[in-house]
Symmetry: C2
Subunit: 482 residues, 2 copies
């Protein structure tokens, strides 16, 4: 372990070593952690490094310090909360056609026009999670290298260097792309707009996960398309059985739009076999498959996650993603590889917003070409894992009985099931009064099935202000609990 | 004059002085221009400055050098070409519903996949026309000032400093806007997409000028809306009479989308009285008015052009514009002030591409806050006027008999009427073979009315390469002429 992650800070390498030992059961619950002194000898590290490693594991909820006797392996926090409920079989009610655009917009507007001190509703991490200094340097370099950049029209479909870097990056998800297969977009949001307009018309039905990312529901309504919500398992993703049932019921399903890796908000990952079945099913049915793969790089597992497009042999899968959550929230860079709709998407992008400005593209391509990119992703995964774990721990310790949670293995969110009957919109309103923003579950569906769910952002490092905010949310939830 | 433009280079101040004298008739055709020596004395300038001033006027086609006798006022080039034809009265044929998207895209693709050496088809100017160095400096300053910029999500609807700068800038067009009335977009293209989606649905009819900007026709088709082409006078803009006739014929016109100032491709300016009538007519008919005002700042006249929104009292006018052509082609910054549709546009923008990245916005707001912005615009107007004049001159001197041209008083284009029966697409294809790109008139209408028109870009300073390219185009046209 120590050897495999030389780029990680020493204390994290040591912590990682014992994290594995605990995960493997080599160190069981109740076992005594080697003393700080012996850690110093074993790993040839300083006292402060050894201490930091133990604190890291304590923060992650894996160790507990017992006065005058050292650190012990504690029962992991996961059992403290039951996993969230599996969806009922069959299809949801026709509520799926009720517009949500106004509702989402109203909620977003409410929080935009409030003074938000702590944002636990956001989609990305704190600035400290991103390599802002390196990106500033790369940007300054690009300005020197291309003095006429601002005076020249941007290149169609994206800067060649970024299209090439993204094609290389896609190899990590086991996708084979040529640079020309990639069109750079304004975030994944624009990519999804392009994908949907490429394959469907107003009035068409698009099958989506339930719950699903509210942004997708908003896009669908703004395009006059109809969202058909398919039950999605917190463990294995969209239900292929319900999808088949839906296809038998509705004959105008034009596309399936999903997040196979670290779904938003559930955080679930579709097993590769199911991804493969989904791709084949869409192909056989002549239904386009649109995947949003923006979070895969945050997966904590050893093997990178494969995208659904990996199994695409006919160009029927449209792959959309962005660097928003994993590299630079402030750069709004996304992309689309549209398979057999590539030409149409290029046309639509030109008609929608013309090519993206070049500066950020050149700077990011520059950064992605260095080892710093992989080192950043490794650190990001580590930080997000710690943040998810301590937040899950805090929720387990402070939310009322009946709260359920499935700890995801990546991403920036926790999807929390509150005791039945609770209204997350009431929670939203009450914590907003404290200058804290959370995402009510009602935004993630056209139905009311998720009104008692809450999405919390784990993008903030553990700090007193965040802990206090989380305690405020917990307090509000406790008071409202039946 | 000299006093009023202190920021202009001295030789341009001197040239401007005599340009006015010639325009006013104080110096008539054939008159002798004061000798270089007397210019030195009169204006207290150096020999080289006096010479440069004369060459400037010669370049503009206002003076001619006679060996051993100095400079003389020459017949202006305009009479050399008849103004282009006024449109026939009444409504165009149903050809307006033929899709043009594929056609435009095919032409754009053809030129994108060729190695273009000289682009006379583009929409903006050469890099040397824009303050790239100052914008680079402002960008570097923004990077220092906001170290976390790339790590933070962008602010909704645009950076406050740019929204404020754009609201100030709008005063020049006599529009009163608060910063909150402005939404920053990815160029005017995104602004037009938002405007159309805010007021109309697929299947609705949008009245547009004929000829009109091909990008608008592309957007309309991609949104499933139908373009109704209204005849547009090369002198006074869209025909209000034909518009009234159209409204009596079609009951589903949801918006009128026009470029009242320096129309693309005609270059005409609607007289204020007609702008005012158009605004009132749309208001009375309950039809939205969408204006693209991206080129107004290039108007050569003394008084800045008023936008149609100047006369909007009910929020029925949606004002769209960009800085693409007048400040920074490489920054893709546009904006929209959507009047009574503002909230809907904010919602649509969020669902379409989220807020624009901040860096360019901060840098441009910074630059717009300095006197350098006005100085840049003054220089740009002067340069573009010279470039339009010498190019018109060159066309007059090298295109075949029957060629017609109305010299616009601003903008970056010449709209050239070739002898009847000629095909500008054939011209396009043949000059493309030489690595030169021009815009065939067929792109600017769903009908074939403008197939024998050509749009040439005047954004390039007079240089041998450009002169040769123009001569190549002229040669091709001459060979193809009947």
């Amino acid at each position: 372990m120590t050897a495999t992650h030389p780029s990680l800070p020493l204390y994290q390498q040591v912590a990682g070593h014992y994290r594995q030992a605990i995960a493997a059961g080599t160190l069981a619950v109740g076992d005594r952690m080697p003393s700080v002194r012996s850690l110093m000898g074993l790993h040839e590290v300083s006292l402060s490094t050894a201490l930091q490693a133990c604190r890291e594991l304590e923060t992650a909820g894996l160790l507990e310090a017992r006065p005058r006797s050292g650190y012990f392996v504690r029962a992991p926090s996961r059992p403290a909360l039951a996993p969230i409920e599996e969806p009922a079989a069959g299809l949801p009610d026709p509520a799926q056609y009720v517009g949500i655009h106004q509702r989402i917009s109203a909620i977003l507007a409410r929080s935009q026009h409030r003074d938000i001190k702590i944002n636990l509703g956001g989609a990305c991490g704190a600035p400290s999670l991103y390599p802002t200094a390196a990106l500033r340097t790369a940007t300054a370099r690009a300005l020197r290298r291309y003095p006429d950049l601002f005076g020249s029209a941007a290149e169609a479909d994206g800067h060649p260097s970024l299209r090439a870097a993204l094609a290389r990056h896609a190899l990590r998800s086991r996708i084979q792309l040529a640079p020309e297969d990639v069109v750079v977009t304004h975030g994944c949001t624009e990519a999804l707009n392009l994908a949907l307009r490429a394959v469907a018309q107003p009035g068409d039905v698009i099958a989506v996960e339930s719950p699903t990312y509210y942004g997708l529901l908003q896009i669908l309504e703004s395009l006059g398309m109809r969202a058909l919500e398919i039950p999605c398992s917190p463990q294995t993703g969209i239900s292929l059985e319900a999808l088949e049932l839906a296809a038998q019921t509705y004959d105008n399903i034009k596309a399936v739009a999903v997040v196979p890796n670290l779904q938003n908000p559930l955080g679930c990952v579709m097993p590769d076999a199911r991804k493969q079945r989904l791709v084949a099913w869409c192909e056989a049915r002549g239904i386009a498959l649109i995947e949003d793969d923006s979070c895969a790089s945050t997966y904590e597992g050893e093997t990178p996650l494969a995208a659904a497009k990996t199994w695409d042999t006919t160009g029927n899968v449209i792959h959309c993603a962005s660097l928003h959550k994993v590299l630079a929230p402030g750069m709004r860079l996304g992309w689309i590889a549209a398979g057999k709709w590539q030409a149409r998407v290029e046309m639509l992008k030109f008609g929608l917003s013309r090519p993206n400005e070049m500066l950020a593209q050149i700077a990011v391509a520059d950064f992605m070409g260095t080892g710093a990119f992989e080192r950043h992703l490794r650190r990001l995964r580590e930080q997000l894992r710690n943040q998810r774990e301590w937040m899950a721990q805090a929720v387990a310790g402070s939310f009322p009985a009946g709260t359920r949670l499935t700890l995801p293995r990546g991403g920036l969110h926790l999807w929390i099931e509150l005791p039945a009957g609770m209204s997350s919109e009431t929670v939203f309103e009450q914590v907003l009064a404290h200058g804290i923003r959370v995402m009510p579950g009602s935004m993630f569906s056209n139905s009311n099935r998720f009104d008692h769910y809450l999405r919390l952002n784990c993008g903030n490092p553990r700090e007193p202000a965040i802990e206090r905010a989380l305690e405020t949310v917990a307090g509000v939830v406790r008071r409202l609990a039946p």
